[in-house]
Symmetry: C2
């Protein structure tokens, strides 16, 4: 973040980063600014090296060729780290959040000093691999993060009021940014994913927990952390650990689903097995998966009802469940819908665990660009 750059210059730079190389004329039309203003706004960006003029491109028709402006994505390196209870995931990315290297290692323990030095070690190795200064390091955790400084409360790590950024900054030189994990994932979608093109969208993640991010009018709406996890779906449904009957956590988290199927079959069944069994036609597993997909559909309908946002991304490690039971998803989404109103289908974005780390990298990119 260069504080000397005028805000409108920054907006131009972000547009180029997010939407790719464009000419000044295109940018002027898109932003509603005049051509002279664009020339003026772009100059300091060129001087600072934020943008470069790439080849001039012949468009159809006559007239002078336009010169494309672009970021040099590969000039910059960012690191993203996501902490879970079991593992630490890290990625090295360029400015466009494209993953160049990754690492996964088991969580040493949940003691804060252990985690701090372990993360510092990962970051240091990533810096070596980068072969150049890293411009920013983003770290995300599940749970409440306060002002980007402290982990106020993380049930996954059993942490409370840990001033994690400060602690980590003692061992990491690069600019450091701390955020909630779903916030990072939502930002990644906003700048480099589905949300790029849309001013409003919601992100619902399914896996060990249920995550939720909301963007309205290009801005991230600060929701409480993962409150959607306890959104009620069916007051007669299964029980979640917090004692809620039929909330999202009880229906769709991988642990809950595995438990239910284990109980039905009288033997321990993993989440992956549940999905396989469901695909193979096992009645119990199929039922559990269908109910979970139905619950996800219900949740998307509630999101649309209460926020007016109808573009919804489904993602998370466990999202395959809705691909297995698309009809249940659809049924849950439209069951209580108004007849006249057409309902957009959610977009499914399968993802592995590195995607979480990539979200962390985007936290750093967003905070430090340009």
């Amino acid at each position: 973040m260069r504080p000397d750059l005028p805000a409108s210059s920054r907006a131009i730079a972000i547009d180029v980063l997010v939407h790719g190389a464009q000419s000044r004329a295109q940018l002027a039309k898109k932003t509603g600014l005049s051509a002279p203003t664009l020339t003026r706004l772009v100059r300091p960006l060129l001087d600072a090296g934020v943008l470069v003029e790439s080849e001039s491109v012949r468009t159809t028709g006559r007239g002078r060729s336009s010169v494309l402006l672009d970021v040099v994505a590969d000039d910059h390196r960012y690191v993203g780290v996501k902490l879970t209870r079991e593992s630490i995931y890290a990625v090295l990315t360029n400015l466009r959040a494209e993953v160049l290297a990754s690492e996964m290692l088991p969580e040493p323990s949940l003691d804060v000093p252990d985690v701090v030095s372990c993360v510092a070690g990962v970051v240091s190795r990533m810096e070596d691999r980068a072969g150049r200064p890293v411009r920013g390091v983003g770290v995300t955790v599940g749970g409440r993060v306060d002002k980007g400084e402290t982990v106020a409360d993380s049930p996954f790590l059993d942490w409370h009021e840990v001033p994690f950024r400060t602690l980590l900054a003692e061992q990491v030189d690069a600019p450091l940014f701390l955020a909630n994990d779903v916030v990072g994932l939502t930002m990644a979608q906003q700048w480099f994913g589905y949300g790029r093109t849309y001013p409003d969208f919601a992100l619902l993640t399914v896996g060990a927990g249920v995550g939720y991010g909301l963007v309205i009018n290009h801005e991230l709406v600060p929701t409480l952390v993962s409150p959607i996890g306890h959104l009620p779906v069916d007051p007669h449904g299964p029980l979640c650990p917090a004692g809620h009957r039929g909330c999202m956590t009880a229906f769709v988290t991988s642990g809950a689903m595995a438990n239910t199927v284990s109980l039905a079959h009288g033997r321990l069944t993993t989440y992956d097995e549940v999905l396989e069994l469901a695909e193979a036609g096992d009645p119990a597993a199929a039922r559990v998966v269908a109910e979970a997909a139905h619950a996800v559909g219900r949740a998307t309908a509630a999101i649309t009802s209460l926020t007016g946002v109808d573009r919804i991304i489904l993602s998370g490690e466990g999202v395959r469940l809705v691909e297995i039971a698309p009809d249940s998803l659809r049924a849950g989404r439209v069951q209580y819908a108004d007849e006249q109103v057409s309902v957009l289908d959610p977009v499914i974005r399968p993802m592995d665990f590195l995607e979480w780390a990539r979200g962390a990298a985007v936290v750093a990119i967003k905070a430090s660009f340009p």
Copy 2:
């Protein structure tokens, strides 16, 4: 709306209208603008008569007395009209949306020309009572309103794609504004009610239907029209006319509640009787009211979960039900809540039907001030 006024002048004028008489110094501090800028912004407002300097006020301590700036609320007249299936409600207000006169008359029929001339008649009578030119007329209806021009779809009036504003403009001289009824009510809360002080709040209305308005960061979020009416609460609950089991409509609308109690007692019971019976301890009525209040609580919890907004206003003609069963409301609100997170109690704003018309007047005020 004076298009020649700079945007920041307008912001100052709105602040004075909404928050009452203030000195330039106060406004400068609040808006973060400098004192000179405030002098400059206020001048055209004084010239145009939007603001006046009222008496200079001695504050504590020494120094020059500050001069309060205020709108002349009673210099201006606005009319608000709300259409329902059975009746037309109209109010005459001043600039601060204080009701000076009101009128209620039965809907002549649902034929568009009848309604148009009836509304034109009401407006004309209100203009007579105003004794001066009316600065704006706001008309609101339940249902989808497109671009302030046409009633795209109103199940209450059985109207579809009626270019109501244009039709009415042929018989009304004053500037005319058309909007959804809940939008008007939300705007009224935003400028002249509970929302004045808060950047984020939600409005939930209960009555013949269920209404929902959302303001985030001082801005009205465009939600679909009354989709919350079919928010599911309990998939084993009562049935609504659209065939949904246990949706908000089935639980909390006055018609549904009256029907349920009528059925239980084997005799026709009105909504008001239901509330009286519940207060008197009648088990069936008390149960229906408690379930309704519980459903309202659930809905507020869902709103908070999915929007992050925890300040919620409960209103509408039927809102007394939650006053009768506050414990059920609270139970529904916290039942699925996270334990750590403290939950704000909703604010209850009882209202009569004229409040709807006042909301319509606010539509006109907001659109035409200054």
